[in-house]
């Protein structure tokens, strides 16, 4: 019994390892990653800065569930003091048309050198792509 179970366990472990290796990174799940080719190129496409805020997007993660796109964007305050910024997401349908819902600018206080994750989820199943806009 034990000898027959051992090979099965090995196969199961190998299969699990293959599955983990095959899963895309969260940043690679963001729409437009294939066209961009890299995480930094994706961030250049997806992030707009208005009025030169002293912040930088360091990572972006996307997950799809129940037809909605969940997005995490990590931004870091590059000032050694507090900074007040505002941000919002812009959403697009698969054909590139903008989704009707225009988001409100959300104020955000960043502490010196803070790494802050801003989270959102798409406003509906028709919103397939996004852009994040950050302004001072």
């Amino acid at each position: 019994m034990k000898s027959s179970a051992f090979p099965v366990m090995i196969v199961a472990v190998l299969l699990a390892a293959c599955q983990t290796a095959g899963e895309p990174k969260p940043s690679e799940s963001c729409p437009g990653f294939e066209e961009a080719g890299s995480t930094s190129a994706l961030e250049q496409r997806k992030v707009r800065y208005l009025d030169q805020p002293d912040v930088r997007v360091v990572e972006m993660r996307c997950v799809r569930s129940d037809g909605l796109l969940r997005v995490d964007v990590d931004i870091v305050n590059e000032r050694p003091r507090e900074q007040r910024i505002a941000y919002r997401f812009e959403w697009f349908e698969a054909n590139g048309m903008s989704v009707d819902n225009e988001e409100v600018w959300k104020p955000l206080l960043l502490y010196p050198d803070q790494l802050q994750t801003i989270r959102t989820v798409s406003p509906g199943a028709d919103a397939q792509d996004f852009r994040v806009v950050i302004k001072r």
Partner: protein, 194 residues
């Protein structure tokens, strides 16, 4: 003759100065961005309303009840204003309802506020002025499976010329049939005036 000249000169000068002052004080009107961050004063404002409505809508869309694709029927009840200031909480729930409707994930049954108008219209269609084959029959309204209700509170502190306001908005989705709380979320906002 000389006195009359002096008076006339003074009158002209006063009129010119008055016109100049009035012109200088004329207020300028400009259109603004309705989605911009509004910080005119510390009171509950348009940014607070929109931020709360957006946060609650996005959270609701991820809940198992709404996100499951069953398009539940919901009715909107009161959001109790437990703050010390006047807040039109109906405006918040109206925004949430509009956003949820746009998502296509939720249907809304007529709520308490709209019930009188709904009944009036149904009864009006029963009158002899309407073709009864096309009129809506009484007794076909669809009841809500879930009800949305909530509250907003504030904590206000003031000292040495600094005023701090903390708002907490809480929204809940209750199952009407069994009384279970299916979803709840909160959004808090802090504003400081100095």
């Amino acid at each position: 003759m000389r006195i009359r000249f002096v008076v006339r000169t003074w009158l002209v000068a006063v009129v010119v100065v008055a016109l100049g002052v009035a012109g200088g004080c004329a207020k300028q009107v400009r259109y603004g961005d309705p989605k911009s961050v509004e910080t005119v004063n510390i009171d509950f404002g348009s940014t607070d309303l929109q931020v709360i409505a957006e946060a609650m809508t996005r959270s609701l869309l991820q809940s198992p009840v709404v996100g499951g694709g069953s398009r539940p029927i919901v009715t909107v009840q009161d959001v109790k204003n437990k703050t010390s200031e006047y807040i039109d909480t109906r405006a918040i729930t109206d925004s949430i309802r509009a956003e949820l409707l746009k998502s296509g994930q939720v249907r809304f049954a007529v709520d308490e506020v709209g019930m009188d108008e709904q009944i009036d219209e149904l009864e009006r269609q029963q009158s002899e002025y309407y073709d009864q084959e096309q009129s809506a029959e009484i007794g076909n309204m669809v009841a809500a499976q879930y009800r949305l209700q909530g509250s907003i509170i504030s904590i206000v502190k003031e000292a040495d010329g600094v005023k701090d306001v903390y708002y907490k908005f809480n929204l809940q989705l209750w199952n009407v049939r069994n009384g279970l709380l299916e979803w709840s979320d909160e959004k808090d906002i802090r504003k400081t005036e100095s």
